[in-house]
């Protein structure tokens, strides 16, 4: 593999709030020109990590450099190289879109001409030219997000940080944002984002780190992570009357040559298999023999959700299995 230069280097990073560790011992590198995601559930430590990288928080231990500059010692230098798109709609409702950008132009110490030139270009890029002189309170959620992104791009950053860029957006706006992010990569901008959407990490990112409980659980490209699981997944759902037979079924399958790993879920089993054409008959045969009625059987290539579960021991959103249990 071709060695790419390192844009961000994080080493043994830790942050403690009032004695409670938000992140511990985080080490990873982000390469120049890639789209990198920190994937994890709420409270996993993604935002803490991002805030340290953009110099808004000081780490309690370890260190991080952005393009060679230390985020604590050379904070001012780091700030000159990055753009940031915050998670909240960090918009001043009383200012127009153009006024937001003009303000930031001055905060990045651009000359008036340079500022106006970039603003015209960015408004075009995010398709906000028509609304640029309306106060932001008249903007829809998607438009505010676009303005957010334009603000993040104004300094012409080498690295753009996006905190949950599509949180709460409708499908169209989401796809638009993904599209912008891909355009940025084409321009050579390194993009670092946090997300708790598996599909976003899967489809948009070159590489990702799965963060859970303040630690990195897995790191790699979506493809690497999925193939790293080894084997395809057979999902077996049994009838609610037969839930007691799930355990015996699992023990019966354990040790069969075509089966690599079995995990129990509330409604049945997830079975990682070597070759589905051998495994499927074996599973059905075992279920029959144990009088365990199979309600539904599904076979698929490993998905990022499987990767997440395999590394963290739980689904990224706990409410889904709970809802299934009720039903």
């Amino acid at each position: 593999m071709m060695e790419q230069s390192v844009a961000i280097d994080v080493s043994k990073l830790g942050k403690t709030y009032d004695g409670v560790a938000a992140i511990q011992d985080l080490s990873f590198q982000i390469r120049t020109g890639e789209i990198f995601a920190l994937l994890g559930p709420n409270g996993a430590g993604k935002s803490t990590t991002l805030r340290i990288l953009i110099t808004l928080l000081r780490p309690t231990s370890g260190q991080a450099t952005v393009l060679g500059y230390d985020v604590v010692r050379d904070a001012d230098h780091v700030r000159r190289l990055i753009g940031y798109v915050p998670q909240e709609r960090a918009i001043d409702r009383f200012l127009t879109g153009r006024e937001h950008l003009l303000l930031l132009g001055d905060l990045y110490h651009l000359s008036k001409e340079e500022s106006l030139r970039r603003i015209a270009e960015l408004l075009k890029l995010v398709d906000l030219e028509g609304k640029a002189d309306q106060p932001a309170k008249t903007y829809s959620g998607g438009m505010k997000r676009k303005l957010d992104i334009a603000c993040g791009l104004l300094p012409n950053p080498k690295i753009l940080f996006l905190d949950e860029p599509t949180l709460g957006l409708d499908v169209q706006s989401r796809l638009r944002i993904w599209d912008y992010v891909r355009q940025l990569r084409k321009r050579g901008i390194t993009v670092v984002m946090t997300t708790n959407y598996l599909d976003e990490a899967d489809q948009l990112c070159d590489r990702l780190a799965i963060i859970d409980g303040g630690r990195i659980k897995a790191l790699g490209s979506p493809t690497e992570l999925k193939s790293g699981l080894g084997g395809d997944i057979v999902s077996v759902t049994v009838g609610s009357a037969a839930l007691t037979r799930v355990e015996p079924l699992a023990s019966a399958l354990k040790g069969l040559p075509s089966i690599r790993a079995i995990s129990t879920k509330p409604t049945g089993l997830d079975i990682r298999v070597e070759s589905p054409e051998k495994a499927l008959p074996a599973i059905l045969e075992a279920a029959n023999r144990l009088a365990c009625p199979v309600e539904f059987i599904e076979y698929h290539r490993p998905r990022l959700d499987d990767v997440f579960v395999a590394h963290t021991g739980h689904a990224i959103r706990e409410e889904f299995p709970a809802a299934e249990e009720e039903a």
Binding site: R51, I54, T55, L56, D76, R79, R80, I82, Y84, P86, Q87, E88, R89, A90, I91, D92, F94, L95, E99, L102, L103, L104, D106, L107, Y108, H109, P135, C151, P155
Partner: protein
């Protein structure tokens, strides 16, 4: 230095823009103190107040100094509100992620609050003039009034911003604000001279920096330089000490929020 000036100018301009967009709230913050206190309160107590006690030709001329300082108080204590909202919606984070000097946001706020307050003080003196109150020390006296107002305002604005950065919710902020503002007014010489207060209130009022500001401004309006110059030195000293104390107390909250 040039960059610093560019940042502060842009940030201050933002506060001005916000104020000009909130026309309704601007009307109320600018008009309310003088309308309510000076015109209504001043005229209402015209006959109830004893001119012997207030040592002034009429109650309105006595009250003018109090209303000037009350305006400084209210504006100062509310000076952190916009930063509170910036903190809550993430705008502050956006500002702090840019390569600006860490003090620029706070300085722009001081600059804005001080300017707006000074303009308001001028309007109040103008309205008082319409009711026949002419500052005895003339234009230069008005300049000194503005100076005292600015010095008192800086400390208050510092407290307000520190509070905005420290509170958990904006409900807390407004409760503290409501709790502070009226007692500060009643436990000062704004409405009644110290000599006419119940003893325990007068004792507390002496500890209130607001009383010192008012008692320095009042002779500038009522009597003239001879009376006014005597307390001026000590009052300016007290104001500077008050500012130093407030800034020192706020420093930790500032560092945590923007450091």
């Amino acid at each position: 230095m040039n960059e610093y000036r560019q940042e502060i100018a842009a940030l201050t301009m933002r506060w001005v823009r916000r104020l000009s967009r909130e026309k309704f709230s601007m009307l109320f913050t600018l008009i309310q103190p003088m309308l309510f206190w000076l015109i209504f309160f001043g005229n209402l107590f015209q006959r109830a107040a004893d001119v012997q006690v207030v040592q002034a030709p009429n109650y309105i001329s006595f009250l003018t100094a109090g209303v000037v300082v009350m305006t400084v108080l209210n504006n100062g204590l509310a000076g952190g509100v916009d930063l509170l909202f910036d903190k809550e919606n993430g705008f502050l984070e956006r500002l702090m992620s840019t390569p600006i000097h860490r003090t620029s946001v706070i300085l722009s706020r001081f600059l804005f609050v001080t300017t707006v307050t000074s303009l308001q003080v001028l309007v109040i003196l103008g309205v008082a003039f319409l009711f026949g109150v002419t500052p005895a020390t003339g234009f230069f006296g008005v300049a000194v009034i503005l100076l005292i107002g600015m010095l008192f305002g800086v400390g208050l604005t510092a407290i307000s911003m520190a509070m905005a950065f420290s509170v958990k919710s904006h409900g807390d902020f407004f409760s503290v604000l409501g709790f502070l503002s009226l007692p500060m007014i009643f436990l000062s010489s704004a409405l009644v001279p110290l000599s006419a207060m119940p003893r325990f209130m007068a004792m507390l009022a002496v500890l209130n920096p607001m009383t010192w500001a008012i008692d320095a401004i009042r002779p500038l309006i009522l009597t003239g330089w001879a009376e006014a110059l005597r307390p001026l030195g000590i009052v300016l000293l007290i104001m500077v000490a008050f500012d130093a104390l407030c800034l020192y107390g706020s420093a930790k909250a500032f560092r945590r929020a923007i450091g």
